[in-house]
Symmetry: D2
């Protein structure tokens, strides 16, 4: 089959012919890929930033945001049949450790992460597990939702955690209205009655934020903290959901909080740095956020089927992966880039 | 009456005669002091560290950990009678703002803090409000519990927040087995089934920790992180309750956490500094903690009356306040120093 | 002032001149009534059904759903000024008992309930307390929101409790789309992403339900349980919010639940009757619901100001109270009947 | 192997030789039984009360509370090895449905229940699944903990749900200090700081309750409701955990509740019957309780290994099953009867 493999860090991945994955274990599921999201993390992988963390052996197939159709299943798989349309949770989990038994798939002690530490979905076929496939509503096409598998799932997960703090009259600030942020905004609108104030440097991103349901937008021109404080009557916001995590966003987030407020960290790059006295005297929280659970993904698919969460995408044939990478690297992608194997539909 | 007033920052407070406080509002309560805790915060106040934050006008009466007997009440007070034995919540709150209406007294938008920003309890009489007095069980004497009013309440509050994360088989690390820490240990034992691992530099403090119910103790000799990891099977602890907050404790705390673990910050002095990628890739939380609610104080008094929480104290006559301060400053106080006005019993 | 007083059970209340209420305590607030909701409970009071429970002495002024303008305040009132537009929480609470300190105003150990056990708001002026008044947004008129003070507050409170169980893909059945039900539907829409299935005998009520945001409606023609099961894929609903509570609704509710589902009881008249083996083998819950908290009322006013919750009302001059009662008794009121004192605006 | 099979309802089960179970699926686990608890449910099964619900085909092997040693595993089992000591969660679950993914094993949509609807553990060997085995601490012997697998797990599960409502100063009433009740008492002591008031008809059971940690005991002589109200200052208890569920216990439970209290139903036989107005005017809850989750069982094993929960047992050789049944039926068993296959140790 055609697949996009990385052979050397800091080199372009190659489109080449490799053997199709096969069912070898009772819980294996092979998915014919209908769409695979290209993510900034893929650029970081190519640059070698994840080499040590993932420990993956080159060459391997990239692609960790996948959706498609089940093409083969292991002997013990009972939840999907060949032909089912599915989105793929990014982790393959054991189902047996404490975290899995609590539904916290992303903390599985024995998980694998195709596209990061093993062959992923920039290919015609992907091997995953029965615990990782969510059946899609007939209204949803794989290429339209693939990027919700990781980026969207992370945004939804944070929104869901924040939702328990948000009641009518509260304010949630969203920093960053990009790929994750615009899913976060839609998820917050679907899950909470809070007023949403979205902060971004780009006026275009803020327009998208408004379409996604932002109640107010603030251009991050250096006055964003003051503007948020002013729009919250000087109190600050109960929740700040930070999809940027660098370049001043982490500092801004803390300054935008009200007493007992919570800073949800999703973006990364920078360092959280707050004096303990400031943390305790206002009793604020800093909350880490990882990709969501399997159930989170199923819920997000419900919102997608209901039309409450939609993705802006730009599709590329799988063989044009390096064009897509160039476009992403140069800021030319509108929404998320999706790779589609030839013949998939 | 006799009272201990601060006239100048960086000077010793003076014991002098001032007018007794009087009921002027319908919700006022005057408490005849039976005991008032001396706290490291009092030293910081004297040094002027709180001058700007509190905005208090000198001279004023110190003392924010108070217990005694009701000696007079305003016209609208219905919850206590003259003669009742009470402990005093450190804040005087409005009862009308959203925080008060949710029970979060410490976030009252209109609160006063006697001993910090107005006249406190190093005196024969203290003026507080009806919303701040908790009636004591007959078995409890004011001098024995006074220091639970602020230090103990803070420790209990953090323990209670942590308790919701602690089930059989989880581990809570307590950093610092001093004044707050030893109440924290007792509170965690009363509220949770978790295994408690207590870390402190002092072997004597660790002995006290064991008496308070610690399951394991670790000398903070530079190997404490490794020791905690080893004792948790390499996983780290679900909860770290940090009563130190400086001198490496904040860094240690994060390293001692398991995935999805929570670092409760109570001590202060240092700066929390964690890269965003470390926060998100393990999905950890940093949780600020302030003094507890009124209901927290009532619950802590229940534990005290049941003998589940006890304080080690060393008493001084009120007039010997400067001896007590010297002893505290030079590490000569066993447990908490308590000032007792002459004639109080 | 003009007021509507009940002199004898089972007799019509009389419109008569009585003395205006006056400030006597430091926390008293006098409200000039702009609108007071007429409720089925008022009919029950007149019939004497509440005589024993309330213990009220006749004659007294009816009316427990009130809104208007502050006309006088006690010496210690700090949260409202004369002239402020307010809605009135139905209880006058002490602010000092455990329930009040936890925000659970409706469980105050020392509460009074004007219109039930003391003089209410079918009058030109009402005496309440500082803890009972919520300031209104400039966009809201007292007569438009008065009925949210009790009926609406009860519906919102139940919806908020249910919301924690409702995530995308869950189903909430609302039984009864009348006065409370239509607020419940709007509240559930504002607070949750659940699919709402509304059951009522009246097609007209179901039309209103759809306008309020119901996703599906079911005519209660005897097949309603089967229809709900069919529409939930045979599983039943995670939540049933029962605004009827008699005439078979309680039995239906339990049959409509999925495993681990929750039956929220708001309406009354009948008896919950479920064999223990049915309760445990499916692990279902029966959840009682009373009027909401002060904070609930503030949140509901936020939703009202945002236009997310609106009431259908039909106004009457205060002097026409008995016409309003007749209309209510004979099912001729569209939405809620609101009494307006002459000259109020 | 030797096994105890039921051939006809209302006849004694027979000890006979049948084929050993074998691994046929990748996730199968065969357990050599070290002990199997005999439960009142077994009597009900023999009487045919479960015939319709379980749909089991006769003859089949009884026994749903099992512990022992792993003797064989399927190809995909990774969490236990042959020779491991294990306790067996009563359900075999799919791991794929929403309930399983949330950790709610007992609501698995595809579960089997050995001993109820398929061959159980009154035998030398039992076939279960990888998701059902919890490894035991070296200090625990199968025969000592077997009865915790179902009866104990149910009691622990209810205690854990109740724990979130219980803070210092609250009261939990336990009705019934028998097989489940005495585990419930120990679990409540381990998990909560509440005062425990235990109600039972038998003075001997109340003695056991005291040994298990009850703070107060009440003989159920007809005055039990009044006694509980008196011991709770007239308020009633925040929580009633009802292990009886018939013969007046259900009615008592509701009368013993304080406002906003919760009645946890575990025992069955009777019918919950409360007028809706009583449910809403006090805002009480009725909470169904089923057997616990896998994680609950793991936590309970932690408490058992710590010595915080211990079972009183009386052992019988497997071949003496009918003696054990007679003893249970005639109230001659002290604690729980445990069947032990010959040669197991």
């Amino acid at each position: 089959m055609k697949a996009v493999r990385l052979h050397q860090y800091d080199e372009r991945p190659r489109v080449e012919d490799i053997a199709e994955p096969e069912v070898t274990g009772p819980f294996d599921v092979i998915v014919r890929i209908g769409g695979a999201g290209l993510c900034r993390t893929d650029l970081h992988i190519i640059e070698g930033q994840w080499a040590e963390k993932s420990g993956v052996e080159l060459p391997y197939v990239l692609g960790h945001e996948n959706a498609g159709w089940v093409s083969a299943v292991g002997s013990a798989v009972t939840n999907v049949d060949v032909g089912d349309t599915v989105i793929v949770h990014p982790l393959i989990t054991c189902g047996l450790c404490r975290a899995c038994r609590d539904g916290n798939d992303m903390h599985c002690e024995n998980g694998a992460f195709p596209g990061i530490d093993s062959d992923g979905g920039f290919a015609e076929y992907l091997k995953t597990g029965a615990r990782s496939v969510v059946k899609l509503d007939a209204s949803l096409a794989p290429a339209d939702v693939a990027a919700l598998a990781d980026a969207g799932l992370t945004a939804y997960h944070a929104a869901k955690k924040a939702a328990s703090l948000l009641y009518p009259g509260t304010r949630a600030v969203v920093i960053g209205a990009g790929g994750l942020g615009h899913i976060g905004i839609q998820s917050l609108r679907a899950l909470t009655p809070a007023q949403l104030i979205v902060v971004d440097r780009s006026e275009q991103a803020l327009k998208l934020a408004e379409e996604c349901g932002a109640h107010q937008t603030v251009v991050a021109d250096g006055t964003q903290v003051d503007q948020v404080l002013e729009r919250t009557g000087g109190h600050g916001a109960e929740v700040v959901v930070d999809f940027v995590g660098e370049g001043g966003a982490l500092e801004d987030a803390v300054k935008m909080l009200c007493r007992a407020g919570s800073h949800f960290v999703i973006g990364y790059g920078g360092t959280v740095q707050v004096s303990a006295i400031d943390i305790i005297s206002t009793e604020i929280n800093v909350v880490g956020n990882l990709v969501g659970t399997y159930n989170d993904l199923a819920e997000l698919m419900t919102l997608a089927a209901e039309g409450q969460v939609t993705l802006h995408t730009q599709t590329y044939p799988l063989r044009a992966v390096n064009d897509a990478i160039d476009d992403l690297d140069h800021g030319r992608v509108q929404g998320r880039g999706i790779l589609i194997p030839e013949g998939a539909a």
